[in-house]
Structure formats: C-alpha cells, structure tokens
C-alpha cells in the first residue's frame, strides 16, 4: 500500500497533491518487551524469555499535510507505536523513515540532539498531567523554543506571543500556572508548546479525552485550523472513532500490536470490513440510540505474551471466528481502493 495512492482516495480539505515520498513511513516495525524473571527453571528452556509483543509488524505511512487516525482499545500497542515514532523507545526491528531518512537507527538516547527532533512533536492526553505545575504558561511554551530552537531574549518572547496568538490563548493568561487555568486553556498551552517549533508531524494522543464536550468542539476546530495554517501532518491517536473521523483523512485500526484495517476515513466509517472495526463502530453511543444494533465482543483479548503466530489474534472475541482462524494469521489484503483488511472472513461492503 503506497501512501500517495491512499491519499488520492482520501477526502482532504486542502486537496493538495502529495509531494513524492510520504513524510513518515513506518515499515514492519516491531517492539517486543522481554518479561524479566519469568524464564523457565528447566535448563533446556532457560534460554527462552517470554516476550510481550506490543507492536508486531506495523506498516504506516503519513503524507505531507495528511491526517491519519490510529484507533484501538487500551493495551493494543497504540502508545508503544507512538513512542517508537517519537523515538523515545528503540524498536526491536523495522524501519522508521522520516523525510526519507531512517530514524530508527538513531538510538532513542541520542535522538534529542538530531535535527529531526524538533520536527516531530506531541500533544499529550491529559493537559493537567503533562504540564509542569511550577511553570507558567509562558515558561512551558518557552522551553522547547529555548532548548531546541535556540531562541532567547526578544526573539523568544516575540515567538511566544506569536504562538499564543495562534492557539488563541489570551495574552494576559500567559503568566498563569496550570492550576489557575481551565481545562480548555491548559489544552491550548499543551498545543502551543507542541507547535512552537513548527513541526512537520504532530502526534495527538487523545487530545480531547479530558475535556468537556463544549470545550472539545472548540479544541477540535482549533486543531483543524492550525493544520491548515501550518501545513502539519497529524497522527491522531484515540479510542473515540467519532472524534477521529472528524479530523482525519485516513483511519488505521489496531488490535493487539497489529493493524487490522486501514483506509480512507469516510470509507472505513461507512463500510468497515473487519469484524473488530464493526464492533468498535457499533459501540459508539449515538444520539439516535443504537444499543439494539450493537455487536458485543465476548471475552478478553488474547494475551500479547508470545502469541501464537499462526492464529488470528482476534479469534476468541470475534463473532465470525472459525477453525481456519486458528490455523493461520490473516495478512492485510486490499479489498477496496486504499482499504486494506486483515481477516479471513471480511464483511461484505
């Protein structure tokens, strides 16, 4: 699946053409965590350390100016994937190409000193937990500008004012500490800090989960607006499909370390082909009332510790699971333009 092809099918508000190679290209990236102290006491088995497969062979591409939504339940590996892309965690295998260069080779410990560091920024889930309580809003926004942007003095304060204006943060609130700000204002500070260095890729981890509905709408509008103004690409991580759909061109659904479905947002939303995507969509509470058409997922997810490679990971919870699903793990197959699904028995369109 190449990104330009997908982008052509995606609904893009800007409608600009993709420029050659995608901005970010993740290829067969894996992250396994060894579970220490759980090795077998049997001498012949002692070498085997159980592994938690957090991210298990994920491909992902984000074009310049594109918004990609990554959805899945907690524990599916979303956050690990994000930490791999932001290079705060080293992958076990795979390539992460950013503007054509493989940044997976740069160790996480050295990533803070490379030029790509400023271009990948992140907005965190809880604006209260992710702001330093002893920094004023101004100091929070100043920190990346000082450390990575090398700004100081008047240039620094001019830039802070400009960034604050971009996120519509009133100037008089910049001297306040987080506890003196409302949830929406704190969210603005978190966004301002992330966009201060004009990154080309902004990763948003549930940016509105901690906000009230009324504020959520404001922040979503702000994010859409900023994307247009600054030409950033977004990777929007969430478990709320309703929100992801509003902001994203393309949607990727993750289940236990793997992408199970991906495609143009509207298409995936309107005709999901993987049973898990169906279940996720049917779980969204709607104003129309939808408890009756809900697809219930029974049981707990398969354990991510040393999963059987020849078995579909969704088997056991899947309403369509059959014997074939326990004999081979399905690969991603293109079922519609830009829409790929990993399922032996995909739903019809």
């Amino acid at each position: 699946m190449s990104a330009p092809e997908v982008r052509g099918a995606a609904v893009s508000p800007e409608g600009e053409a993709p420029a050659g190679a995608p901005l970010l290209e993740v290829e067969q990236v894996r992250k396994l965590f060894p579970l220490k102290g759980r090795g077998s006491v049997l001498p012949l088995r002692a070498a085997h350390v159980p592994m938690l497969h957090a991210v298990d062979g994920v491909d992902l591409a984000i074009g310049t100016g594109e918004s990609v939504g990554l959805v899945g339940e907690s524990g599916c590996g979303k956050s690990t994937l994000v930490r791999l892309i932001t290079r705060t965690l080293d992958p076990t295998a795979g390539a992460i190409r950013f503007r054509g260069e493989d940044i997976a080779r740069i160790p996480a410990s050295a990533f803070a000193r490379v030029p790509q560091r400023k271009l990948i920024q992140m907005v965190f889930q809880d604006p209260t937990d992710s702001l330093n309580p002893r920094y004023t809003a101004r100091e929070t926004i100043a920190e990346p500008l000082r450390l990575l942007g090398g700004l100081s003095g008047t240039a620094l304060s001019t830039r802070i004012d400009a960034v604050a204006a971009l996120v519509q943060m009133p100037h008089e609130l910049l001297g306040r500490f987080p506890h003196q700000l409302s949830g929406g204002q704190k969210a603005r500070v978190g966004i301002a800090r992330a966009i201060a260095l004009e990154p080309s890729l902004l990763i948003l981890d549930e940016p509105t989960a901690a906000l009230d509905v009324s504020v959520q709408a404001v922040i979503l509008h702000l994010l859409a607006d900023l994307k247009q103004k600054l030409g950033m690409s977004y990777l929007f991580v969430s478990h709320d499909l309703n929100i992801v759909r509003l902001l994203c061109d393309r949607l990727m659904v993750m289940y236990l370390g793997r992408i199970v479905e991906s495609g143009p947002a509207r298409q995936v939303f309107e005709s999901p082909r993987h049973p898990y995507t169906r279940a996720l969509l049917s779980a969204i509470p709607g104003l129309g009332g939808g408890a009756s058409r809900r697809i219930r997922l029974e049981g707990d997810p398969t354990s991510p510790i040393d999963p059987d490679p020849d078995r579909c990971r969704f088997h056991g919870r899947c309403p369509k699971g059959q014997d074939a699903c326990t004999r081979s793990s399905p690969a991603l197959v293109q079922l519609a333009p830009g829409q790929v699904v990993a399922c032996h028995f995909p739903e019809s369109a």
């Binding site: 907690s74 509905v213 504020v215 709408a217 478990h239 309703n242 902001l247 509470p285 104003l287 009332g289």
Partner: protein, 324 residues
C-alpha cells in the same frame, strides 16, 4: 412517565460551599423526580453540579458543603432531614452509587470478594458462612468470568472494565431500588463502555431498579435513558423524555449542548461550540438565569428574579423566559 408516587422526589434543593475565596452557590432550586424503575440521565458540563446534587441527596456531601433548603423525599423519607444513622441504613441498601473512577473508589488493599461481603454483612442478614457464596454469585451476576478466582483478586490485578463491574456488583449486592451511576464509563474504552452500560441497563431492567446516569456524554444518555434532566451551573434548565428532548430542545443551552456533540452524520463544520464559560458561582451578582451571559436569546428580563421555573406537571418542561 406518569408515576403516581415517584421513588425520589427532589424539591427546591439548594447547596452551597464555604471556601476561603467565598461562598460557592453550587445548587439552587433543584427540582426533579425519579419514578420507580425509571432510568434518567443527568447531563451537563463539568462544574454544573451533577455529582454534587447526588452527594447532597445521599448525604455524602463534603464537610464544606451545606444544604440550604429544600427536600429530597425518597421512599417517604426526607433525606435532607434524615439522621446520619438513617442515611447509613439507606446507602448501600436502598440506594447505591457507582463512582467515576473504580480504581480510586475500591479499597486497594482488600480483596474484591471481601469488599462485596462487607456490604452484605452490613446490610443483610446473610449468615457469615454463606457470605463467600453470595459474593461469588454477585461477581457472576455482573458477568465476571471465573468468579471463584476473581474473588481473591485485588483491584490492581484487574482491568478498568473489570473494576467497574466489581463496583456494580458491590452497588447491586443488596438489590437497591435506586442506583446512581456517576460517569460510570469515563476512562474506559468504547467497547468496554458499551459492555458496562449494557450490563447496567440490563440489570436495572431485570430488577426493576430506578437508575440515574450522571454523564456529560449526551450520546450515552440518549441511548440508555427514558428521560433526561439537563443541568447548567447549578440549575436544572430542562427536563424531557429522551426522544422529545433531542427532537425539540427548548432551552437554548440544551440546543447548544446537542450541537456540540459529535454523532454519526456530523462533520467538523457542523460541530458548534458553546460560547463563554460557566459563570463563577462565587459571584454575589449571579443573574437569575445563569446561562444568560452565554445565551444569544438574552433579554434584560432574563437576569431578574424570581427564577424561571420548571412546570412539574409537564413531561417536557423548561426553565427559560424565552424558550425555543
């Protein structure tokens, strides 16, 4: 919704908090009722007083809070004037509450099975030899797989969804006639949220238990409630049967709230925002209509007392001088 005697009837309830920075007028003139076996949703932004309202009704208000007046009649007893021992006998037995964050609400150093037994031992005459069996039945009733094994689990060993099921098992252990669920699914995944809400709805139906769902998620309320009470800044602004409320919201705030909620067909452009913020409830000069400063239908009379009141006789009633 025409119940001759409601199970819970709250009339003109007021609550204020004394704080260092002044008195917070948290609730004013709150009136609503919950019929037997009925499911109502209480919706509003954070800070609108949804949780405080039920803390006040169940007598678990923070010591800084004070009920300034009104009544909350539950099964013939006015909870506002009830003694602490009467309230203790009611909480957990006749009326139970599920809290927002199950990990915080459960005792972290006590096995979940024992936490269920505690409620049974306090409120029922279950012989102590039968407690364990009853607790395991309670775990099974909320569809916890392998209840015998989970009985011995501590909360940290269980997922968020399982912890919330334990909370539900504790709340329902004594078959209460009223269940108050305060944001029961915040922080849970959509699929887990759906499973937990379906479980609450199903058990409520089966036991003919009245349920109050406190939430800021209109979609969730729409799906699970018969009737909805909309709160804003410590006032009830509108109450109506669910379908009616969404089809014809009459309070400007309700209409705004519906417009900010993303749903199936909306796109980002159609997602409106509510201008302004909740008013500072410490203010001495709070206008009679606390939404007036955010409202586009405002006129001078809106700020004048007495308050616009709900008509208790009507199924759909609105507290607004200029309703839609």
């Amino acid at each position: 919704m025409d119940h001759p005697v409601p199970l819970l009837s709250v009339e003109s309830l007021g609550v204020e908090f004394r704080t260092r920075s002044g008195t917070v007028h948290a609730l004013e003139e709150i009136s609503f009722s919950v019929g037997k076996g009925e499911t109502i949703g209480v919706v509003g932004e954070s800070g609108s007083g949804k949780s405080v309202l039920f803390y006040a009704v169940l007598g678990i208000l923070d010591p800084a809070g004070r009920i300034t007046g009104g009544r909350a009649v539950f099964g013939g007893l006015d909870l506002v004037r009830a003694s602490p021992s009467e309230l203790e006998a009611i909480r957990g037995r006749e009326a139970a509450m599920i809290f927002q964050n199950p990990r915080v609400a459960l005792n972290p150093i006590r096995k979940v099975g024992h936490q269920i037994e505690d409620v049974l031992a306090r409120h029922t005459s279950t012989p102590s030899a039968a407690l364990r069996q009853r607790a395991i039945e309670a775990l099974a009733s909320v569809r916890i797989p392998d209840p015998e094994r989970r009985y011995d689990a501590y909360p940290f060993e269980l997922s968020g969804g399982l912890c919330q099921r334990i909370m539900i098992a504790i709340a329902l252990a004594c078959s209460p006639s009223l269940l108050v669920a305060d944001e029961p699914t915040t922080g849970l995944d959509v699929t887990t949220q759906a499973a937990v809400m379906d479980l609450i709805s199903e058990l409520a139906h089966k036991r003919k238990m009245a349920t109050v769902l406190i939430t800021h998620d209109l979609g969730l309320a729409a799906e699970h409630c018969d009737r909805i009470v909309v709160m804003h800044a410590g006032h009830v602004v509108e109450t109506a049967p669910t379908a009616d409320l969404f089809a014809h919201p009459r309070h400007p705030y309700t209409a705004r709230l519906i417009a900010t909620t993303p749903h199936g067909t909306s796109d980002l452009r159609s997602l409106a925002a509510i201008p302004g913020y909740l008013p500072d409830l410490r203010r001495g000069d709070l206008p009679a209509c606390r939404f007036s400063e955010r409202c586009d239908r405002f006129e001078a009379a809106c700020t004048e007392r007495p308050l616009a009141r709900l008509d208790a006789g009507q199924p759909h009633s609105v507290a607004c001088r200029r309703p839609l």
